[in-house]
Symmetry: C2
Subunit: 388 residues, 2 copies
Amino acid sequence: MKSRKLLMIPGPIEFEPKVLQALGAPTTSHVAPNFIESFGNCIALMRKVWLAPTGQPFVVAGTGTFAMDMAAANLIEPNDNVLVISTGYFGERFAEIAKRYGANVTILASKVGDIVSLDDIEKALSTKKYKLLTITHVDTSTGVLVNPKPIAELAKKHHTLSILDGVCSVAGEEIRQEEWGIDVVLTASQKAVGVPPGLALLVVSQKALEVFNNRKTPVGNYYADFNNWLPIMKAYESRQASYFGTPPVNLIAALEVSLLQIVAEGMDNRFLRHQKIASAFREAMMALGLKLLPVHKNLSANTLTAVYFPKNTTGSIFLSHIGKNDVILAGGLLPSHKTKYFRVGHMGSVNNNDIIATIAAIESALSASKFPFEIGIGLKTALKILND
Amino acid sequence: MKSRKLLMIPGPIEFEPKVLQALGAPTTSHVAPNFIESFGNCIALMRKVWLAPTGQPFVVAGTGTFAMDMAAANLIEPNDNVLVISTGYFGERFAEIAKRYGANVTILASKVGDIVSLDDIEKALSTKKYKLLTITHVDTSTGVLVNPKPIAELAKKHHTLSILDGVCSVAGEEIRQEEWGIDVVLTASQKAVGVPPGLALLVVSQKALEVFNNRKTPVGNYYADFNNWLPIMKAYESRQASYFGTPPVNLIAALEVSLLQIVAEGMDNRFLRHQKIASAFREAMMALGLKLLPVHKNLSANTLTAVYFPKNTTGSIFLSHIGKNDVILAGGLLPSHKTKYFRVGHMGSVNNNDIIATIAAIESALSASKFPFEIGIGLKTALKILND
């Protein structure tokens, strides 16, 4: 499917060979003892990766958007007030989803590349009673990183549930779901979790499940209904098979392999690795004279970086130069800025080789574009940080 | 994941090695030219497999139940009248889903193992105006086969849309969607389509899309909304990338391989192969003195067979004898009869070797259970039919 070109987009990413082997292995029955063991183990491992020892994991066939949909459909009832803290495309999407389930949505949107201030969030929470708020941890469209910890604290203080869209962050950016008191942390398999696309993954707090259990109206979305999935998750975790829909056996087998690798690395080590590689990449871009989309490098994610194309270049031509150097990067996603920037994913199994090769390909494209810069300065900058 | 034991359950099934290879191949970007080509090709190939030259295919990450949910959520508005023709567990499920979207549901349920008569369906359609009706082609819980052709004709006559739950039939049982005038034919990847679980697949008629386009209320389910997916399907078919959710790249690559194999076999050949193998298996079971769950063999599916356990045996022990003979079969699913019968899947890449081995394993289990029968009679009966 893929040549040896490096896939450095914000998902799908480069996957570990053992994960791909598990994915392509002959499928077993969804009630086979070894599959029951794998599925049950995935549920237990998710709690470790999410750092949510009492949370309830869900593993369901779907995309990251389905994970958002599942959180919203189960926790929102018509006329609930919902506060969406938006730093880009996926914040807007969460607002659209919440409205679909009848919420009165208030959007606090940042300027492009910036975040919403804690003051503004506190002000909003003090003005109106919100049932829940949503945070996009890393908006894949902008590469902006939001610190969810103080927002979750504010939410708790105001008796508001917090949902963290961690599609581009879980298992890459630091998240301590339970310690930080976040009620739902959701993601998709193909990002830092390191499994090809097709799985929606959520961990839900007991408090959020209690709110769910006290619903007055049925969940608007049948497939997403926790009532359908909760008995399945509980059954497999206690090493019993149970049926609602056929679980995506191969993807779940691959998930177990990846989660075991993640837990073996250790969450703190993993967060640090992502931070170091991201820092090396960001500093390299700035040393080359390129500008990041986040207004300050401290707002830049550790899982992906959004960079403006160099002045006087056409984005598509610049990206094709990079492609000729065997690295695949992504274009922009934010409608207003789509043609002005590119995105580089560096998460999951990403290593120093990958990021060095990516910087080299960008330097080669800059040379081909006759952009004035000192050749090697990006590589040198990155290497110093990586070797620190 | 699986040993060399034969997996003869009604999905997941034994998959072709080339399909598994595609699934486990290194993941490419969802906007890579070769993936765009694969996805576009899948959409075109689905029309050939569904025999629906003007239908609109949808390929979305999810289960078969999600495919049912997608059909219902998009075509039902609150207070619509919906007629569910039920032959088991999955008919009941369709009724539950339709209710979730506000439908007034009438269920015409058959006795266990039987079908609903055309007279009863015609009577229902004449009594009340129904917006749509649902048919379970093969109910995976009972192995009962319904002939959808005359029901679709009745629906057409009464200006009612028809939805065929083909989860356990598409690419195995004869379906000529367009010739027969069925508005939606839906399935999941892990059955006769021959791809590990994780994809919901639908083909929707232009008439149904027109009904969808004239909706007065928004679709209750965000993830399932045709409005989100239609532009994506059209883009990829015209060999352009487009984004709503990250497509399950590896599953779609595997789907292309399987659909190419199906089309290469030819739909008529494929229907015949399924009929012949099913007939050999049914006749073998009857020759052994076992009873089918369908009340008449003509009502028995060609993709799976439900068989009552032999008298005076305990189901779980009987199935474990079969397991010791390296064949994996499934237990019952219909709550009222769950412990009384077992189910054998014979679809997709199933071949004569598989069915002969399965019959041999059942004969061995009968011997171990001290069931009175002539050893070899099942095998002999089957072989005669297979060699015909």
